[in-house]
């Protein structure tokens, strides 16, 4: 059985100006242990799909299933990493990481051990008692990653988490995420508008059409793992990148025409 199943999902946002169909007839299933990336032009409804999986918003029609059960409310089993980090500025790094276990009522002792391990894993031990405001963007996103993982989610949802970072930090973060995923077998559903990012990370890349968002194409990425940055120079990589790029370009142009 698929871990996540989106079944003919449609989302319409109503406003005073009229209804906007953000996502239309979107179907996708994600298996346990898979890393799936959703790429598409901005405004195509990628984030809407992710928000429906997390349970932040409900689909207008269609079904979102987690292990066969419909997602009806905000689902802690779907841990989210936000583009804006969304760290609690009044909590230290350690307290941020312990937030999930704390609200679940896990004892202080176990919490401490958990947070120590995760913080060590991303190399932030010496910043454990710092506040997020004292950290750089890359460090903040590492804390967000720790915080999501410490809550032991079934699936990690990533909403363009590295988009606000500079190019170098971004590559480092991608490698770190890859390491963590390959070590723990964490299932990941990742959203990005960077094809390179999608190709480095994913088992499967889903290309989304312009609004209303639908699945336009799905590619299995069979590049060998562990993937290093130099995989980007191989013929295999370039071939698939060109294919995806052509598709995305079409959609970007389509959306530019339709939105004037």
């Amino acid at each position: 059985m698929a871990l996540i199943q989106l079944d003919n999902v449609t989302k319409v946002f109503s406003s005073r100006k009229g209804d906007v169909e953000a996502v239309c007839g979107f179907s996708l299933s994600i298996r346990n242990g898979e890393v799936v990336t959703l790429v598409g032009a901005s405004g195509c409804g990628k984030t809407t799909v992710l928000n429906m999986v997390a349970g932040f918003i409900a689909p207008t029609s269609g079904k979102v299933l987690l292990e066969g059960e419909p997602v009806l409310r905000v689902e802690p089993r779907c841990g989210m990493i936000f583009q804006s980090y969304a760290l609690f500025p009044w909590l230290t790094v350690r307290e941020n990481v312990e937030f999930g276990p704390k609200v679940k009522g896990i004892s202080r002792k176990i919490r401490k051990k958990l947070s120590r391990n995760y913080i060590e894993m991303v190399g932030l031990t010496e910043f454990a008692d710092s506040y997020p405001g004292e950290l750089s963007g890359g460090m903040r996103q590492r804390v967000a990653l720790c915080r999501a993982l410490a809550n032991k989610p079934d699936i990690l949802l990533c909403d363009e988490p590295f988009a606000a970072l500079d190019a170098m930090t971004r590559q480092v973060m991608q490698q770190e995420l890859l390491n963590i995923v390959s070590r723990s077998g964490q299932t990941v559903f990742f959203i990005t508008h960077s094809i390179d990012e999608a190709l480095i990370l994913s088992d499967r890349v889903v290309v989304m059409s312009a609004r209303p968002g639908q699945v336009k194409a799905v590619y299995d990425i069979e590049l060998s793992r562990p993937r290093k940055i130099d995989v980007q120079l191989t013929d295999e990589y370039l071939k698939i990148k060109r294919k995806i790029w052509d598709l995305v370009e079409e959609e970007v142009k389509a959306s530019m025409i339709s939105s004037g």
Binding site: P76, S84, A86, W90, V103, G133, E134, A148
Partner: protein, 262 residues
């Protein structure tokens, strides 16, 4: 023009200089008979008057300050205890907000002074009446400040907390309350000044003690020295309370001091 920030010490030097000049001109204006000391006594005379009011046989100043300050603090604490929880709920629930907004809109513009007649009829002129005046002057403002502060908490933080498994109550306790605290505290600082206005006015209209009462009686005797001592005492007390409040703020918001920005 380039505007540079002065260091603390340089700013203090300029500040003291300004103050000394101001007091000096005041003193000289009276010494040279430009102003009649009956209407405006010189600083030197106010100073000796203040000494007499704190040390002499009829030393009432300190006890007046204590009485007024405790009225302010009691009334202010009451309105915080009532206003903050209410404001939090209003900030979170649009239904509660819509229900209570008309009532608050009617109460809020009323100056605390306008409650004096009713409160005196209901409660006389004893302590409860002073607390009631402060309460009526502060409650609605605290409510509005709290509601606004609550609504300004970044919604993505609420989302993040719920995504981590927090219940509605936990979101309120662990996210909205600490998230609203910085704005809330700066609001409360403003309201604390309002509370002083309330107490002084209430004491001028009906009381047997307190700074407002002291100033008003002095006026009856045309004792401008005592009026000014009373007024300066208000300034100084409010300043001291403000410094104390800043201390509390720093204690409650350690993350704001250290953070360079979000």
């Amino acid at each position: 023009m380039k505007e540079t920030e002065l260091t603390f010490w340089r700013a203090s030097v300029y500040g003291s200089l300004g103050l000394v000049c101001f007091l000096g001109l005041w003193e000289l204006a009276i010494r040279f008979h430009l102003i009649d000391p009956f209407f405006l006594p010189p600083p030197s005379q106010i100073f000796t008057r203040a000494i007499r009011m704190t040390t002499g046989p009829d030393a009432v100043l300190l006890s007046d300050i204590k009485i007024s300050a405790s009225r302010v603090l009691a009334g202010f604490s009451l309105s915080v205890l009532a206003g903050v929880p209410f404001g939090l709920v209003m900030g979170v629930s649009s239904v509660v907000r819509a229900t209570l907004n008309p009532i608050i809109s009617i109460i809020r513009p009323l100056p605390a002074l306008s409650w004096i007649p009713l409160s005196m009829l209901w409660l006389g002129i004893d302590e409860q009446q002073k607390y009631a005046i402060v309460f009526m002057g502060c409650f609605a403002s605290i409510l509005v400040y709290t509601t606004d502060a609550t609504m300004r908490v970044d919604p993505v933080l609420r989302r993040a907390a719920r995504n981590l498994g927090a219940s509605d109550f936990q979101v309120l306790r662990y996210v909205i309350l600490p998230g609203a605290l910085p704005d809330l505290l700066s609001g409360l600082k403003v309201v604390l000044a309002i509370a002083w206005t309330c107490v002084i006015s209430a004491e001028m209209v009906g009381a047997n003690s307190g700074l407002g009462f002291r100033i008003w009686t002095a006026k009856e005797w045309s004792d401008t020295g005592q009026v000014l001592v009373g007024m300066i005492s208000i300034s100084v007390t409010v300043l001291i309370l403000d410094i104390a409040f800043r201390g509390i703020e720093r204690l409650l918001l350690p993350w704001q001091r250290k953070a360079s920005g979000t």
